[in-house]
């Protein structure tokens, strides 16, 4: 910690001028805690664009990409340096909750920021190649039960990440006790993982519905389970849920925003209302539909407690499977 503080001080001295200039602006700002092109970046840009189209904000939302540490750099930045900013929101998702639960943001906890609202959820899917012999989730899980080394499952997150946990939740629910034996192969993003499924390098894919949608439409892969409480509507109505196949597993990658812990109550309420209005708009419904996002309508306190539950749940699973002690 001392090392870090010293470094922060040096850095602050070097960049004093720049930092002051950056904080003096009064424009709405959204931090995407990843490089351009990822889910958080998308959340910021799409929400910013739609809010501006709807007239909820006057100026263009300034999107700042603050990549590093799987969101940890942005989290630390908000907690340590931007704690009382009223103009700032930060994109978050289940990945944020996962890392908070596993202590992967060193020294930070979820109650250091104010959780604003969700803007939708991307339910987890487990899919296999279109020509696979496997047709249902229990068939796949039976194979794993019989011989864990025979099935490789590809996902876009690192080991211990959300894509990995989703499979483990399903395996656990099916009575596979030693979930650590489940063979998970981490790729750089869901797209690469699906490509490897198509290439035949792996037998199954775990990811988000939005990542799988294009490949289901083209007939290249088949979704054997959606980890949603009940069947989704629209184009997704054909996908069976894990629950109806007797595997009681739910995994939603929610997307939402948090704000600095020191944000004033007025600003907090204003942001909650704005994101609520965004969520309720037809424009946002179109965005959700185009991107395979399912409804998840939580604002203010309801969202705060949802995130708290989510962190507690992930902490439980992670302990169970030995990712954290």
């Amino acid at each position: 910690m001392i090392f870090k503080t010293t470094r922060t001080l040096i850095a602050a001295a070097v960049l004093g001028m720049t930092a002051v200039a950056a904080q003096a602006q009064e424009n709405p700002e959204c931090i995407a805690p990843a490089n351009p092109g990822g889910g958080w970046d998308f959340t910021c840009r799409q929400a910013g664009k739609t809010m501006q189209d709807l007239g909820l904000i006057d100026k263009t939302m300034q999107v700042v990409n603050l990549a590093g540490g799987g969101g940890g750099v942005a989290y630390a930045e908000v907690v340590n340096k931007r704690n009382d900013s009223n103009d700032l929101i930060v994109a978050a998702s289940s990945a944020t909750a996962t890392r908070l639960a596993q202590g992967a943001y060193p020294g930070n906890t979820m109650d250091q920021v104010r959780w604003l609202a969700s803007v939708g959820a991307d339910y987890g899917v487990i899919a296999v190649a279109a020509d696979s012999e496997v047709n249902t989730l229990p068939e796949l899980l039976d194979q794993i039960k019989a011989d864990p080394t025979s099935v490789s499952i590809a996902g876009g997150s690192a080991v211990g990440g959300w894509d990995h946990l989703k499979v483990l939740i399903a395996a656990n629910a099916y009575g596979i006790d030693d979930v650590r034996a489940v063979k998970y192969i981490a790729f750089d993003g869901g797209g690469e993982a699906v490509t490897q499924l198509l290439a035949g390098s792996v037998q199954a894919f775990t990811g988000d519905l939005s990542e799988a949608k294009g490949f289901v439409d083209s007939g290249d892969i088949k979704v054997i389970a959606v980890l949603a409480p009940e069947r989704l509507g629209g184009a997704f109505a054909d996908f069976p849920t894990a629950k109806e196949q007797g595997v009681d597993a739910i995994g939603a990658n929610w997307r939402g925003f948090y704000a600095p812990g020191g944000m004033s109550d007025e600003a907090y309420t204003a942001w909650v209302e704005k994101i609520g209005a965004l969520y309720a708009s037809d424009e946002w419904k179109a965005v959700m539909e185009a991107n395979g996002l399912a409804p998840l309508d939580l604002q203010g306190d309801a969202f705060q407690s949802f995130v708290a539950d989510s962190v507690a749940q992930i902490e439980g699973i992670s302990k169970e499977i030995g990712i954290i002690k």
């Binding site: 603050l66 797209g191 290439a199």
Partner: protein
């Protein structure tokens, strides 16, 4: 000839005054962003996304603006590589090897012009490849599993000897250093942080741009400071040379450009490889094939044409998996993918069927941007070369400033600035020892992907190492790799001995 009818429709969509103006703006901004050390194509595109949204542009005009920036930046990266020996972005790194020595020899004009032409040839053929072969090429990407990717990266490293020939031990050391640096960060295969010392900024590993700017740009500034202090500033005036390349040079480079366009394009098509690998393989292969009298690395125009054609072709190739699979093959295409998504267009297997107007409008825009860039770059050679006229005491502070502002602008993190300074000091020390810098970046850039693919392959086959030579493609790649490694040792030993004496006096970058 449905393709041509589609392409004509695409041009009909793209050819409006507004779109042409956007393409011009994009090309210009892209070239500048590419040339500035620190700002690469992916940041250039990302920076301009808000502009596209604010202007309220539709899908096609937005894409025209952003792909012009993309292609522009691919062109622009070579400018600072050649003139200053500082790569403007990752893929332009290989251009330093021959481009900068050419500029030192007073052939800056020719180097810029020939590399502009090479860039054009690379992008031109890549765009045709994209049109004619996109659906089929996707199948090539599907042949590459983790084991094949590992073999491909091994091939790249085995041809490393082609990059620096003065002292193989030093370049091997540099590559090892790069591979070591690539270890830093959370290991995705186990979720365990390595060499991060609890510092959250290091969890995602080192940013290549930070490393490049530190190693090349800052170390250049340090060397300058040191020389000034010692009172031995080089007052030598550089001549610029002709502003257009002689026809003989273009002719000599044509086969090179064609070969490397093909190689680069293939590297671009593979989602796990990308433009950096494209220009790297293009250069080292070309050197293996054609460098009979050992002129590569001392300012051979073919050594400039090869990586430039290669990386621009790879830029076009990277659009194939992005459009046809929705899988980005490079950082920049990841950004473009996000733009498409936010415009409610989902790239993927059905894009060509569902949004033909977008796809063909985009392809037409690529052609327009490419011709525009050629037309813009050749006359501007004269303007760019003026940079060489700026005295170092003015230029170097500007380089330092641009480096700091650029890196801070991308990441918004002061930690990255410290890392950059660290790399600057390291670059300065390594230059003193004549250790080549390019292999360090290659190691850092490719090391992670290489390691991950090795471990993926091994895990999938439950720890069986023979999986690495399990497919015909993998065996073929290994065979090329081994040939590329062994042959020069046998054949090249004599030639190299002759060249050795002459080459020793070159600086650490140019070997």
């Amino acid at each position: 000839m449905e393709t041509f009818a589609n392409l004509a429709d695409g041009f009909a969509i793209a050819l409006t005054w507004q779109n042409l103006a956007l393409a011009l703006l994009g090309c210009f901004l892209g070239t500048i962003m590419g040339a500035l050390p620190g700002l690469g194509p992916s940041n250039g595109v990302a920076i301009l996304i808000p502009l596209a949204f604010t202007l309220g542009l539709g899908a096609t005009p937005s894409l025209i603006l952003l792909t012009s920036v993309y292609y522009g930046a691919m062109y622009g990266g070579r400018i600072s590589s050649i003139l200053l020996g500082i790569p403007g972005d990752e893929p332009a790194m290989m251009t330093v090897l021959d481009g900068h020595p050419m500029a030192k020899k007073g052939m800056a004009g020719e180097a810029l012009a020939i590399s502009g032409i090479a860039s054009f040839v690379g992008s031109f053929f890549a765009t045709w490849g994209l049109i004619l072969l996109a659906p089929q090429l996707v199948k090539i990407a599907l042949l590459f599993g983790p084991a094949e990717y590992f073999a491909l990266f091994a091939l790249a490293f085995m041809t490393l000897g082609g990059v620096s020939s003065t002292n193989q031990a030093k370049s091997a050391f540099a590559a090892m250093l790069g591979l070591g640096l690539a270890m830093i960060g959370v290991d995705t295969q186990t979720g365990v942080p390595r060499f991060t010392f609890g510092e959250v900024h290091l969890y995602d590993g080192l940013d290549f741009l930070v490393a490049i700017v530190g190693l090349f740009a800052l170390s250049e500034v340090f060397i300058f400071l040191e020389n000034r202090h010692g009172g031995s500033a080089d007052g030598t005036k550089l001549t610029i040379g002709r502003l257009t390349p002689p026809m003989s040079m273009v002719k000599a480079c044509t086969p090179t450009m064609l070969r490397t366009s093909f190689l680069g394009f293939l590297a671009g098509v593979l989602p796990g490889a990308g433009a950096s690998l494209g220009s790297f393989i293009s250069y080292s292969m070309e050197k293996r094939l054609k460098d009979k009298d050992g002129t590569f690395g001392t300012g051979d125009p073919r050594g400039v044409a090869a990586p430039e054609a290669g990386n621009n072709a790879a830029a076009g190739g990277a659009l194939v998996p992005m459009l046809a699979l929705g899988v980005p093959g490079s950082g920049t295409t990841a950004v473009l993918l996000a733009v498409l998504l936010s415009l409610n267009i989902t790239p993927g297997p059905l894009l060509f069927a569902q949004n033909p107007d977008v796809v063909w409008g985009l392809i037409a825009a690529l052609f327009i941007a490419n011709f525009m860039l050629l037309a813009m770059n050749i006359p501007m050679v004269g303007l760019f070369t003026r940079v060489l006229m700026i005295p170092s005491r003015i230029l170097m502070p500007i380089v330092a400033m641009v480096s700091f502002v650029g890196i801070y602008g991308i990441s918004g993190s002061s930690f990255d600035l410290m890392v950059m300074i660290g790399f600057g000091v390291m670059g300065w020390v390594l230059r003193k020892f004549d250790v080549p810098l390019v292999p360090i970046i290659l190691g850092t850039l490719l090391g992670n992907t290489m390691e991950n693919n090795l471990r993926r392959a091994i895990t999938i086959d439950n720890g069986d190492w023979f999986t690495l030579i399990d497919s015909p493609l993998a065996i073929a790649l290994w065979a090329i790799a081994i040939l590329g490694f062994v042959l020069p040792l046998l054949v090249g030993a004599r030639v190299k001995a002759k060249m050795h004496a002459r080459r020793d006096e070159e600086g650490s970058i140019s070997d």
